[in-house]
Structures are given as C-alpha cells and as structure tokens.
Amino acid sequence: MQNKQKKVQSKRKGAFLGVTPAIIFLLVFFAAPFVVLLYYSLLTIEQGDIVSGPTLQRYIELLSDPFTYYLFGRTIGLSFLVTALSVLLGYPVAYLHSKLKNPTLKTIILAIVSAPLLTSSLILTFGWIVILGKNGMVNNLLISLNIIDEPLKILFTMSAVIIGLTQVHLPFMIVPLVSTLQNLPSDLEDAAADLGANKWQTFWQVTLPQSIPSITSGVTLVFVLAYTAFTVPSLMGGSAMQLVSVYIWNTVRSLAWDTAAALSSILLLTSLIIISIINFVSRRLTKWQHS
C-alpha cells in the first residue's frame, strides 16, 4: 500500500497548482490583513486617524495597566469554568448514549445535541434572555413556588454569561466524546468486569482513560470558543461587560484602533498559548496513564 501510494504520488508534480489559489487567497485576505493588524497595534491612532508610529508604546501601556490583567484573567477564568461545566455536563450525555441499546433514544439524544450546533448562538442567546429575564421563566417559577418575592437579577450578570456560554458550547464537547465512546471496544470493559471490577472501577480505570484524547479535543474547542465568544457576552452580559471580546468591540467603536489592534494580538497570542498548554497536559496525562 505504502509503495503504491508513493508510485502514484510521484506522477503528480504539477499538483501544486491545485493548492495555489487557496494559498494566494488566504495570503491576500487573511495573512496580509493580519500583518496590517499587527502594524496598527504599533501605531498611535486617534479617532481613527494615524498620528504617529511605529512604537511599542501601546503594548507597554497595556502591559503596565492592572486592568488589562484583570480583563484577560477574568475572561480566562470564565472560559475555564465554562469548559469544566461542559465536561461535567457533556460526558454523562455521551456515556449514556454509548450505553443505551434503544436506537430511537440514541437518535433523540443525538438530535438534541446537534440541534444547538445547527442553530445560531444568537438565537440560543435570545432563548436564555427569555428564560433568565425579569419576567422570565426562572423568576416566575421561583415566585410562584414562593421561594422568592422579588425577581432575581440574573440577566446582565456574569452568571447569565456562564450559563449561556456553557449551553452554546456543550455540543462541541459531546460530539467528539460520542464518536469515541461509541466505538470503544466493549471487550476491555467486559474483561475488567470478568476480573471482578465493579462499574465504577471499570469506568475510572478503563473507559475514562480511553476517552482522554477526545476530552482534550473537546476541552480545547470549548475553551477557545468561550474565550473569544462575542455573541453571548455582549447580549447576556450587556455591552459594558468586562470581557475581552466585548471590550475590544467597544474600543473599535470608540475609534481607539491602536488599542483594539494590540488587544486583538494579545487575545490571539494568549489563546494559542493556552491551547498548547492544554495539549501538553493531555499528552502528559496519556503517558502517565500508560506507564
């Protein structure tokens, strides 16, 4: 097979032409704009007009400002919380799906998981506004049960953003897990059971370790999406929400483009760093499991 592949490939030297349009397109409309973004972050821009530059002034200002650390720290903390919640809520769904024998129930679970993926987060957010609002479902339910007298303020708080982000990104955690757990060979679990392990032991020592790679890909995806999410924080937290993406949106609107460009670069850099950390930890974890 290997040999044949080589033989086939050797015939296609001109195949580079196939990739060229895509590469050129991305160079012109993705890489070049990105260079401009980096360039703008080095300039001084007032009300959208370039005043002077290039200097590192913007970065020095941002990195010596405690608010920057607060802003990024808060967003990272929020994203980790959302990621943790989606593992906690997502894994059971995928596990249940893999254990169920009834095909109709399986299809229903898959449909419930994929429906939010196919709907826009804007619409899901609107649903949460109805649920969490002043005259919303949660408040009216709690009032009718006499648990509270006055409606709670949930919408436009951090809690609302956490709830919204978790739900919107939950499917990204469940989908990779479903396909792994589904295809997990049952012999291993059977063998563990034969050796006298109970369900818990089998789960912790056989099933869970096997699913670490897909948990990792789910965690990476959910973390990055939550970290850079815009729709949910801006609508459920309000436009003064102190989260990176909403803050950047405000700086673009107030024409402080130098700051917007610098913050965007920091956002991108930090998200790449965190992705590598997650992957590094996961590799360590897998190695440790194997030894």
Partner: protein, 287 residues
C-alpha cells in the same frame, strides 16, 4: 479538569470499595443519569421557550405567555429591512459556498495526491483561520480595508466569510480524499481515462458526501456568523445576524421570537433530512 475528575471520586471510591460495592454502582448510575438529563434539558430549553413566546403578544418578553396569537408573526412583515437582510444573508452564504468549493476542493485533492515540499506546513496554513477568533478576523479585515482605503462593502463581508469557512470545508473534503483508494484512479488511468474523466467518475463520487456535508456546514456558518460580520458588514446592507443583534442590543425586541422560531423550524427540517439520508450521527461526523 480531567485530572480533577479522576482524583476526587476515585479516592472516595477506594475507601468504600469493600463495603458498599452495589451502592456505589447505583449512586454512580443515578448521578450520571441526572447530569445527562440536566444537560439534555438545558440543550433544548432555549429553543422550546422561544417557540412558546413567539405566540405571545405585548412589548415585553414574559414566560409563561398569557395568550395565543399570531400577532408577532404578522409584525415580521412590517419590519423595516428584514426581508432585504434575509436575502442578503442567503446570497452571501451561497457565494461563500461556491468560492469555498472552487478554492477548497482542488486544494484538498492536491494535498492528498500531489507531491511537493512543505506539505504539512501548507496544511497548517490552510487550517490556520480556524485558530483565529472570528472577531480578530473581522477587525483585521476592517483595518486592512482602511489601510488600503476601500469602503466597507458586501464584497468585504463575503471575503471575511470565505476566510472563516474555507478551512472547515477543506478539512472535511481532505479527510474524505485521504480515505479514497489511489489504486482505483491508477487503474482508470491505465485504462486510458484522462484526468477529467478520472475526476468525474472516480474522485468526485467518492468526495460527494464530504462536499455536500462541508457545503451545508459552510453555508450555515456564513448564514449565522455575527462576530466577524459585525466588523465587516456595511451599515446599509446588514446581514441577518447583525440585524437580529441590533434588535436585541438596542432594546430586547420580542419580534426576534417569531424570526428565531422560523430558524429553529429550518434547523429541524435539516435534522430530519439529515437523519433520513446520512443519519443524525452522520450529520455530525460521528461514524
């Protein structure tokens, strides 16, 4: 996170292992089912609630609604600019899919069958827009246009959508292409088929599910994109997501409920068609 999950309950369980084996099994199963049910409810709840309130009346959102009426549906037609936004979004998504296919399909075939240097680097480059947050793509294109001195336009918005959706389509077709057997193509060529014939009769049929799935996904991504469009959409031609965003951020306009309901119905139709053709799992790429 995974580490936390493994340590705490494990220690717990080791202590009780000898005495309460069955209890832990039952407890674990109950906990698992409860968590799964909570998350399944949370996943459908927003959509369910939207459909219900879309039949309410009045200037505010409330739950439960007190009346049943089609008032909010009738009001959609009086909305200024709604139809234009809808058609703009559909048009842009269509162009985006076409461009993705023209750029992405040859690229994925060439990447699998071709032989040229720096292949893994090129694959990485073609996938890189997926790693960049949508708002950063939008802002950098906005600044790029300002740098060159061109007006923000529908063209720019379309370009920004192609940038963010192309990697997804390329990924799907690339994976599909890798699973194709090159021997078949060789055999066809040995039998005298030219390049186009080989593509038409062997490569294309094999790629087709990937192309359909990838196109549908790219269409949806473009049709629902807000973080990029909010920076690249012109003020005059507002796409659907930005239009809805404005209805929601200036003040929460209940008219969004019927519009959202219509989109949810569309989602359900896609789900049902998907289930009948490739299976719900297949739709999500689950084997």
């Amino acid at each position: 996170m995974a580490a936390q999950l493994t340590t705490t309950p494990k220690a717990d369980q080791n202590q009780k292992r000898r005495v309460k084996k069955p209890f832990m099994d039952i407890f674990g199963t109950v906990l698992l089912v409860i968590l799964a049910i909570i998350s399944l409810i949370a996943l459908v709840l927003p959509m369910l609630v939207i459909v219900i309130v879309s039949f309410d009346v009045g200037p505010f959102l409330r739950f439960p609604p007190e009346v049943f009426s089609f008032e909010r549906y009738q009001a959609i037609f009086e909305l200024n600019g709604f139809v234009e936004s809808l058609f703009l979004s559909l048009r842009v998504a269509g162009i985006v899919v076409a461009a993705d296919l023209i750029l992405g399909v040859p690229a994925s075939i060439a990447l699998v069958r071709g032989n040229f240097p720096a292949k893994s680097f090129i694959i990485g480059f073609l996938q890189s827009p997926m790693m960049i947050p949508g708002i950063v793509v939008g802002i950098s294109l906005l600044f790029y246009m300002s740098f060159i001195g061109v007006n923000v336009s529908v063209f720019l918005m379309t370009i920004s959508h192609i940038v963010i959706t192309m990697p997804f389509l390329t990924n799907i077709t690339y994976a599909r292409m890798r699973s194709a057997d090159p021997v078949l193509e060789d055999a066809a060529r040995d039998l005298g088929a030219n390049r186009w014939k080989v593509f038409q009769h062997i490569v294309l049929p094999h790629l087709l599910p990937g192309i359909i799935g990838g196109s549908a996904f790219a269409f949806l991504l473009s049709f629902t994109n807000l973080p990029t469009s909010i920076f690249t959409a012109p003020i005059l031609d507002v796409p659907m997501p930005v239009y809805l965003f404005r209805l929601m951020i200036y003040n929460i306009n209940p008219i969004v409920a019927p519009i959202a309901t219509l989109q949810i119905v569309l989602t359900l139709i896609i789900l049902i068609i998907g289930n009948k053709t490739v299976g719900t799992g297949g739709l999500m790429g689950i084997e």
